[in-house]
Symmetry: C2
Subunit: 472 residues, 2 copies
């Protein structure tokens, strides 16, 4: 990969040479735009882009990529900028390529259940479009109101329904990408079966824009789930959550299996706007969801619940009987992240295989407790797929700087524990800039070497989202 | 990619230098072994391997790969050798690496529903192992009694349940591969969520052993389907099959949706060992399958059937009421391939998106009818995923050579039609050697260029299954 040197042209000359490749007014350089479009939801890096480009066609994207190759200027793709790993941050004079004006749904095919989307289509927009067609787009997460399909693909977005529907990867029937060399590739052409060599589509999914930019994607839709029903169950300890998961998975096709700790619940209930599920205090809670498509299924769920109570794995529980109750139960889980943001949490998004979760969680708890007895740890996450969100809250009496300095030490221990359990240091948030120095905890040196060589194939000048995943 | 030159050592010296890397007796050079292990189910290429190596460990595979790099000798991976594209044929003095002695199931995890397999585990062996655990391995096809997991991954095997369960790709939780450089990579470590850079696992799946060899794989299992039930429906024309598929997909989670023509059915019924589904003669038949997990589901299926009859899309139909009836209905579809092999069929395994199937099929039919009115065309396939098996039967009065010469012309027209409909010239059989010269009908020149460059990253000396997917 080439190091990006200070370009020989002045900033002004560069901007002037870029401007004609876009429609009038579609290249912004004012301070507010540079600041707004230069960053994502992370706050670690100061945005410092050269300019913000808003292409309106695939051809314009290709022209910008060719321009970037010629002038050796980095490009940062920009969608809803809801990322949590600084993969969409432009901190080093890059040109941000925003897909805000390529935000249309171009086609729908009822037989194939496919929707052709421009990359700037917002996740929620696709979900609502699917609803209008009597269908369902199942990838869902907290930022679905802002995140865009191109970004979802770039990070292989997951969320709360992965246990049943998988990641974004599963829903990409085909896509068009512009590589770092400016080539337009039409990958997989929306086929279900296609055994004609390497599935390059898979390589671009989750590549965080470092190989090329998604400029169009055909997404699959699914039938609408029938009568979604949630249970919230309280357990006597964390270990009991695992046999509960196992028991329900043996009987039902779960659409979600989430968990949260008593501390997480207490914070949400303290808001006063969400009703408690039940009175019994428990150290841990599971939220599970399934399609109660028939009465038999609902009865099976109740029987499994009773079995779990008899076994001593569950102390108390409720099952939603209406859409309103379903939503209220989900709020107990979904409001956690927003609620605890008040305590300036140090967040980690980690995963191990499901069976290793109890031992892994105990190890991390022990580390934090032994070294920082005054730190409050809030656990929640997608336990059904092994993805844990570890949140350490800042004690009131500790300054922000001191807290983050101490967390940096915790970080190292957490990642060493992740490595010990053969886990992932980034389950669904991606690597970006925040995790790139820790990549070695999850990927071997040889793997990283091959990844860099693959990057060089598609982006020989290193202009596509430079500094993300790997250091420059 | 380097061209494989005649190596400087004699055959004998090469064999002697390879022998110590394997256990005693695990390098075969007798004529019978060379012939048996040098080919797959295709018959176009004469096998001519240098030797057959049977490694018993990952270290031995690595040693063989290092040896091959040193001596610039090609390696051909060999599993069940049931392939239909000559991807496992050694026709040019390669060393065949057979995984017959790496055929153990190494581990099982009930919580994660995962099985760690050596590459030589036979598909059926995994299916039966899953059954013993009360679980299910859903990838299934005609050759499951011989095909091996390593080969399934190399070709991303599909089969008859793709509409519900997807291809082999969906079931690989993680895998170990030895690259063309001899590196051992442990890809994805069986995680469900892992956003730490490029998912190289995906690149190796379907790569036909041209980047490296799978030496271990963790496969996911699924819950056992409940009360699988099949319907066979007769339709008045091909076009009616599509609204039938659409109607059933809107109401049920189908596990299969296959079709076959009257000609295909007639050949199977003429065997005399399979009962007819019903008396009514129809030009086309659909076989669909679903889990009749509750009576309500079965009633929904019957109501949908009645709706299809009312609409004129279905002329007659039956629904299985027992496991025996289920199996008998499946025989009508599954026996086709074996039955028509008597007529020396010219086979093509092609796909288009589902909605394009009717127009595509008519185009192909018209081409064959106009040019070869005396050729009998037998259609069948996995219509639910757009995968059609086109079989042209040899007229009795035509010699084999003449027939295949004429088919070569048909071939070109078929592929041009596939290209016109943005389809795949190999839906599930892979490219190997039989389709490599036609790759351009499904993949662009730019894509093929990138694929070759990716190959060079993992296999710089071009020793891994040379001449497959691309010409040397």
């Amino acid at each position: 990969m080439n190091h990006l040197r200070v370009p020989p042209m002045t900033r002004e000359a560069l901007i002037e040479s870029l401007k004609p490749l876009l429609e009038p007014g579609k290249l912004l350089t004012d301070a507010d735009s540079l600041d707004a479009y230069g960053k994502d939801w992370t706050k670690h890096f100061a945005p410092a882009p050269l300019a913000i480009a808003f292409p309106k066609s695939i051809e314009q994207v290709q022209a910008v990529v060719r321009w970037a190759n010629e002038h050796k200027v980095g490009l940062v793709p920009s969608g809803g900028r809801t990322g949590l790993s600084a993969a969409a941050v432009a901190a080093n004079g890059e040109v941000v390529v925003s897909f805000d004006y390529m935000n249309k749904i171009l086609d729908f095919n009822a037989f194939d259940r496919t929707v052709v989307c421009q990359p700037g289509v917002v996740t929620k927009q696709l979900q609502l479009f699917a609803e209008e067609q009597g269908l369902y787009y199942p990838v869902d997460f907290a930022s679905s109101g802002s995140s865009q399909i191109g970004g979802n693909i770039g990070t292989n977005a997951g969320g709360i329904k992965v246990i049943r529907y998988g990641m974004t990867r599963n829903w990409v029937a085909g896509m068009k990408v512009v590589t770092g060399k400016g080539d337009l590739l039409e990958l997989n052409k929306d086929l279900i079966k296609n055994a004609t060599g390497y599935d390059l589509r898979q390589l671009f999914i989750g590549a965080e824009g470092t190989l090329g930019f998604v400029v169009e994607a055909t997404m699959r839709l699914e039938r609408t789930p029938k009568n979604l029903t949630a249970m919230v169950l309280g357990t006597p300890d964390f270990d009991s959550i695992m046999p509960v998961l196992h028991a329900f998975q043996g009987k039902l096709d779960l659409t979600a299996f989430e968990f949260f700790s008593d501390k997480a619940l207490a914070k949400v209930l303290a808001r006063g706007d969400v009703p408690a599920a039940f009175e019994t205090d428990c150290p841990f809670y599971a939220l599970l969801e399934f399609e109660a498509s028939t009465e038999e299924v609902a009865n099976e769920a109740l029987a499994t619940f009773e079995h779990c109570v008899e076994q001593g794995w569950v102390l108390d529980g409720v099952m939603s009987q209406s859409e309103q109750q379903l939503q209220n139960l989900w709020k107990l889980r979904e409001y956690i992240s927003e609620t605890i943001s008040h305590w300036t949490p140090y967040k980690n998004d980690i995963s191990v295989t499901v069976s290793k979760v109890p031992a892994f969680l105990k190890d991390i708890d022990a580390i934090v407790e032994a070294n920082y007895p005054d730190f409050e740890v809030v656990w929640f996450g997608h336990i059904g797929d092994g993805n844990l969100h570890l949140n350490i809250l800042k004690p009131e009496n500790l300054s922000k700087d001191e807290f983050f300095a101490k967390c940096a030490t915790v970080n190292k221990w957490v990642f060493e524990t992740v490595q010990k359990y053969a886990g992932s240091i980034s389950a669904e948030h991606g690597v970006g800039m925040t995790k790139r120095d820790y990549l070695g905890y999850s990927r071997s040196e040889a793997e990283i070497g091959y990844m860099k060589a693959v990057k060089a194939v598609f982006d020989p000048n290193g202009i596509m989202n430079p500094g993300k995943i790997f250091a420059e």
